[in-house]
Symmetry: C2
Subunit: 912 residues, 2 copies
């Protein structure tokens, strides 16, 4: 019987359980593997099987061969190849291979020998249509898979089936209705039907990644040193197998409105990738209500813009307020009426509804985290991962780490010997030190750590410098354009400068993103982390910090610093003694924040996703197409007949999920961090993600080599990062509302200063007076009569004492009152929202009710099964021991099991 | 062989493993039970064994008997006792028992029959020296224990022993030194020696509380309805058994400086109580550094009191500031110099060191939580609980709940029938509803929930009312005493009023504490929670809320409201139109907060612990002693010869750990919540806890019936409550520092207003001017010339405009500036401390490094063992099946195991 599946894919066997030829085994023995029907065997033969057409290829190793030689590499060759005389061709070939190549071959053969010892079956193929590449096909026979499954404590579905409890009565009817209504949203995959029955599964034994998993572990160092060039399992391309179904029901834009067939994804790619897509799906789903509310909030802003008293006052024709010039000398006094458009636009994003919306989004984030915990729990249960514990200590140190340790101990030995010559009295001390097992200590790592810190600070400094550069650009261009005499140019100045600056920022962010990714990887390699897991975590952390700083520094500058470090007329703040710091437009900086946010977010998504992820692969294909045109027809024909493992060899290797998660978490940052200023962010994110899911799906199904299925219970460090972002979002939104928007000044005016409790007079209240005679020499406008009259007093937006007070131009009492109100709002907002999030966290149980009930039920069933099994076994032993010969036929299952002794004994033993 | 121990105590067998007579069994079969040596058997016979002196008493049930009858109750009697004629004595007795008694007896016999069916052995004793009480002694035989152990998936120590890795080299030497230094701190218990070796343990099977645990579950309803009066296991009083050791090395004040023998406590009382004492021990240990730093902070305050410029200025002989009167009419103008003492005392608790200290304590709390997580993990590992999962769904609904459900369904049926008569068309709908399993819905619970909410609000209202009453008391007494002419009385007025008010508060708190405990229980009973666990959680939550509100309302009033709702001279705030709100003494309310805190905390601890926990039991003993004097000598003598189960019957029943935890969590509140104002709180807590540990220990060992050992992995809801308190502490401390203390005004003065950057002039700056001519009629002092001169301006502590400004007496710019600074401090403090706590949380791994390494090692060893075992088994089956007769003697372990077939098969099977 042909066996299917490979490392980590054991659990695929679920539905085919009854097809197993050993189905008559004792009731609990799990049936790991599916058998393929004969039709299938003949159908998808293109390199999916060994030469005998029986054994399936489970894994591929490739290596570089100097010159393609006809299949002779199976021959055993020792390290020092003694060539048999009399075969001149071979001698000349071996001669051409240098010592280095020889060494690699030796190591390959050693490794392959190990694999054979472990029971794997290998087949070599150096005579393919791909010149220069040798393939090792690996097949894992049934008994090896069984052994491994046991060591990994995979939960296997048993034959015991039980009915998942269905709510009866009214609840059931509603449920049926809901199911019918959402029918078209479900993918056309069989797994969604007949979920009323579940196979009882039980863990074999403790989690232990062992033996077979030694393959990917041991292979990394061989891959690193170039002994092998690639290692991957094969895509499963038979017409009615999973890949095809995935292609139709998942990796297609035409099904964008449907749920993902997560179970199928997990079966084909393993739990780790399954969890990523499940997470992405839930996130996208959760974005629907968020973007709905966001759109409503935005529409509320649009609807109320005509009733907004402050902007009405600014736009009022009789409004005659003269404002102080926006730059030195070149700029003139201007009328507040000119800011009418900006003021009206500001209202769209700066109204009471945005306060509500940012509270809503904080709670949304808490809900999302909670829902994910529940979904994860549900998937853990459905995928039988509940008992699975991730290894606390990863076994295998990385090859680089071991190399480093070796170098260190060599150096130490050398030093010790030196020291011994000069100081014999320290001998004992050193002996003591040497008894400890060699490892990299803090001191060894100090240089790397120092480099890390310095480089990280440097990179962050670079980001700051670039942001500062953009500020200078903005200031100088504004000043320059103001000097132009063209009035239309001048009126469009602000918008143009803002937009170009935002685009420059975007481009810089995109470039630095790539640079920082590379820097983070380089720094992590420098650190020589001990295990792969530690490597990944350090890399993620560094990348996260750098990319976040990169994406959010310009936004934070606009939100919290811009317009605050301006100084006041008569004593403006200057950068480099000539650049006056920029002010915000009338109506707060919220408008500019909004522009910056939307450009960054949209730009990043459009360019990074669509250009990089869609465009570049398309471009590559085009190039390949053009190249193939040049080739001869024969060669092209040959390409079509490539074996499956050769086709897969030409695909991009799978580079891990880190970039996918990173992209999403930065998007999550855009959605939550500054949502108070940009209620449309969730909508943009939603639109992007609908494409993103199918894009990623296509990539995984068709453009990447099939990744090795990895097991995982959760999304690991990403969950913590999400939580961190959600926490920071609360405080940032509090500050945006209270400091960036005019929400608090309006409230303070209304309840403390307004004569009639309305907003009338607010605009006037927020502006201080300036006596133009107090301008410093050379800073006053060149053309004071620009407005047609002699200006004596001009106004500016700040809370300062008027020129006629005892203490002119110092901050006024109103300033402090508004500041106190702003700070009080931050405290109240932060604590209320945190409390509400905690309550949400507390109200929603982490484990869904039905799952916990089912787990409970399973436990009871399991105990019952044990009891029965136990009785059966006792009877068996009773009947066997007296040797009366009767027992043998009465206890067929155990007697029959002896035909596959090794495997079955394990299976049997591990049901308990 | 006699078997020891009972439900939940199985795991005691660890050290005696090799004594088991079946020691030659297969290597893995765990040896559950210890055998007692014959000497022991004869020594502690006083009711610890059945009549045969062989079978040990594991559990006791007691019941009430109307008249002591000679042991005839073992006789089978049916529900409707048909008395055999011809036995007039029995007839008359049975006659005297009413139907009710009969029913109880029937239910007892039914229950006992069930126990026997489960394999337990029972012995009845109604003929004891305790009249009116019947005893049922229960013995659990070995095979029953084994079966139960398996169902509970207890981790059993196997014979496989491995060495716990010792750090070698310098580390080891330091370790040895530390161990030697702390030698006297360890209790003289053997378990602390020889910890280098650990028995490899492995879980039997999945967690399932089953069968035997049905005993405590089923018994609750029987206890509730009075069928049985008590149910408890026996204390183990043989001289060299655990209780004795516990008594000497744990429950004694003379070992107060030693660590607790936690392993022994866990062995004797089970994991749940063990965890409580481990937690209490860690908490006490962690209080040592906290109280040290607290004392240092306090001493720093003492040392700097003479250099404190504000108090120097107040006490300066040339200080001539005239203050406005503290109450209407009766009080006079006074000199600020009079406040010298208070100002100096305030400095002790209101100096920059307290800011540092409250940050320190916030981090301390975070550290404590982290350390507890680690300790818990370590204990879980050492106690072999790592695989143990607590049941998500508690099986057994409480008897009260089931009663309620039954009543409901009866009522419904009744209603349904009624309805059916009138409306036959709703028949189907009701049928549909009835198919669902009956349970209590939200609507059924609504009345109880409403009562709960109303009562909780009412209780909280009562607390508020009492606090308000105390305020009124303080105001009125102050006014009355001020009117007295005696100058010494007047000068002592403030202190006296403060102290008496604090004592009244304390008394009220103590009384309400008891009331609230009862109310919370009553409310929870009203709610009819479904399971015991839910009952406990609801009860704890309610008690926690009520007791916390009770303990902290007066303190919160003083910290945040007192002195803030005063108004200003000329327009004071009045309560009931005549009571002027009280002010704080000069130097902030921090001093008064400190007095209130220390009195409440010390008083609560001294009275609740020492009086209630030590005094009352002593009193009870005294009463018993006096009573016994009256009795005849014979009876007293008889008492001495009481069986062990009779002695235990007279002990107090174990009432759960809730009161102990509650006491500690409220103390934790005192230690963390207001620590900014009272740095000595940790010291007081430490002193209290050193006594508390031993006090509780004594109580558990000698004064309570032995509790049923319960398994637990963690301290449950208490951990969340602790975390909650620690979180709230951060924000409360931020507010105490910024609003209650003068820290921020001092800083603002120093950096914004001080002419020379020093604190000189601060006192003057904080006080506003009042023109005495602006007093309302009838509110001015009766004796304006009291100070010897005509007062025109008096001063009061507030930031208000002077009488000569344009807007007299409105709050000044300084007020807003200080307010803004205060709020900014709260934001910065809260976020910085929260961030630091998160970093602490992140830096300290939850699982100690050595434990995770050991777990890893165990896993590897376990796999190796499996392999060997597996091979052995295969060989066994191989040799058995051909029936050549050789196998039997070669495979002694399995052959021998057949003498105890049921048990061993389980043990054997569950090693996998």
């Amino acid at each position: 019987s042909g066996s299917k599946s490979l490392s980590g894919h054991f659990s695929q066997g679920e539905p085919e359980i009854h097809r197993n030829p050993f189905g008559t085994n004792p009731p609990l023995s799990p049936q790991l593997l599916n058998s393929l029907t004969p039709e299938e065997n003949t159908q998808c033969q293109h390199g999916l099987y060994f030469q005998d057409g029986e054994r399936r290829v489970d894994y591929i190793l490739t290596y570089h061969i100097k010159k393609p030689s006809s299949s002779r590499s199976n021959r055993q060759s020792s390290r020092f190849t003694d060539n048999p005389r009399g075969d001149p061709e071979v001698a000349s070939q071996d001669h051409s291979m240098d010592y280095h190549e020889d060494d690699k071959r030796y190591r390959r053969e050693e490794f392959e020998g190990n694999l054979r010892d472990m029971g794997l079956e290998l087949e070599k193929d150096e005579d393919t249509k791909t010149p220069g590449v040798g393939f090792v096909k690996i097949h894992a026979p049934w008994h090896v898979l069984c052994r491994e499954a046991e060591f990994m404590k995979l939960k296997m579905p048993t034959k015991k089936v039980y009915e998942v409890k269905q709510c009866s009565g009214v609840g059931a009817k509603i449920n049926t209705l809901v199911n019918k209504a959402t029918e078209p949203l479900h993918p056309n995959v069989e797994e969604n039907r007949g979920q009323h029955v579940k196979h009882l599964s039980y863990a074999f034994s403790r989690e232990k990644q062992h033996l077979f998993f030694f393959l990917p572990v041991g292979i990394t160092s061989l891959l690193g040193s170039g002994v092998y060039t690639a290692a991957y399992p094969l895509h499963d391309v038979s017409t009615h197998c999973n890949q095809h179904l995935l292609y139709e029901e998942w990796a297609s834009y035409s099904v964008f409105y449907k749920y993902q067939p997560i179970g199928l994804v997990r079966k084909y790619f393993g739990e780790k990738i399954g969890l990523y897509f499940a997470w992405l799906g839930l996130y996208t789903q959760m974005l629907i209500p968020a973007s709905l509310v966001g759109v409503i909030v935005f529409l509320y802003g649009c609807a109320t813009v005509d009733n907004n008293i402050p902007s009405m006052e600014i736009c009022h024709p009789r409004n005659n307020i003269t404002m102080c010039p926006l730059c030195d000398r070149a700029c003139n006094y201007w009328k507040l009426k000119e800011a009418c458009g900006t003021a009206r636009a500001s209202h769209l994003f700066d109204n009471p509804a945005t306060v509500f919306f940012s509270i809503f989004m904080a709670l949304w984030a808490a809900m999302f985290m909670e829902h994910w915990k529940r979904r994860q729990m549900r998937l853990n249960y459905e995928w039988d991962l509940t008992g699975f514990e991730e290894e606390e200590v990863s076994d295998h140190p990385r090859a680089e780490y071991e190399l480093c340790v070796m170098q260190k101990s060599l150096k130490k030995e050398h030093k010790t010997q030196k020291v011994l010559i000069s100081y014999s009295w320290v001998f004992t001390v050193i002996q003591l030190l040497l008894t400890e097992k060699e490892k990299l200590t803090c001191r060894d790592r100090l240089p790397a750590y120092m480099t890390n810190i310095v480089m990280m600070l440097l990179m962050i400094g670079v980001t700051f410098a670039i942001v500062f550069g953009v500020i200078l650009y903005r200031i100088s261009i504004t000043a320059a354009l103001h000097m132009s005499n063209n009035p239309t140019t001048r009126s469009n100045v602000r918008l143009m400068v803002k937009t170009t600056a935002a685009i420059i920022n975007l481009v810089v962010i995109l470039i630095l993103d790539e640079v920082y990714g590379a820097v983070a990887r380089w720094l992590t390699v420098l650190e020589v982390p001990k295990t792969d897991r530690s490597f990944e975590e350090r890399l993620i952390f560094k990348t996260f910090v750098l990319k976040f700083v990169n994406a959010f520094t310009p936004i934070i500058y606009i939100a919290f610093f811009r317009g605050r470090l301006v100084g006041r007329p008569g004593s403006y703040l200057y950068v480099f003694e000539s650049y006056r710091m920029e002010e915000c437009a009338h109506g707060g900086c919220l408008m500019e924040l909004c522009i910056q946010l939307s450009i960054t977010m949209l730009g990043k998504q459009l360019i990074q996703n669509n250009l990089f992820e869609i465009g570049i692969p398309k471009l590559k294909k085009l190039i390949r197409y053009i190249k193939s045109k040049r080739r001869s027809f024969q060669e092209e024909e040959r390409e079509k007949k490539l074996q499956r493992y050769e086709t897969d060899h030409f695909l991009e290797p799978f580079a891990g999920l880190t970039p996918e998660y990173m992209e999403m978490i930065i998007q999550f940052g855009f959605v939550t961090l500054f949502v108070a200023s940009f209620p449309l962010a969730p909508l943009f994110a939603l639109l992007n993600n609908i494409i993103e899911i199918r894009l990623d799906a296509k990539k995984f199904v068709a453009e990447l080599r099939r990744p090795v299925a990895a097991r995982a219970k959760d999304i690991g460090i990403w969950y913590n990062l999400l939580r961190g972002v959600a926490k920071v979002a609360v405080i940032i939104n509090a500050f945006v509302i209270s400091f960036t928007s005019d929400f608090i000044p309006r409230l303070v005016y209304q309840y403390m200063y307004s004569p009639d409790g309305s907003m009338h007079g607010f605009v006037n209240h927020t502006m201080s007076y300036f006596n133009v005679s107090d301008f410093q020499d050379g800073k006053e406008p060149m053309d004071p009569h620009h407005l047609g009259y002699q200006v004596e007093m001009c106004r500016y937006k700040d809370y300062r004492e008027p020129p006629w007070s005892n203490t002119p131009y110092v901050v006024s009492k109103e300033f402090w009152a508004v500041l106190a109100a702003r700070l009080a709002f931050v405290i109240v907002f932060q604590n209320v929202v945190m409390l509400m999030s905690d309550i949400v966290d507390w109200l929603i149980p982490d484990i869904p009710k039905d799952i916990s009930l089912q787990i409970h039920k399973e436990k009871i069933l399991m105990v019952e099964l044990f009891m029965k099994e136990e009785q059966g076994k006792m009877q068996f032993i009773d009947s066997m021991t007296p040797c009366d010969g009767k027992g043998r036929n009465n206890h067929a299952p155990i007697a029959r099991s002896r035909s596959i002794p090794h495997t079955h004994s394990h299976t049997h033993a591990n049901n308990f």
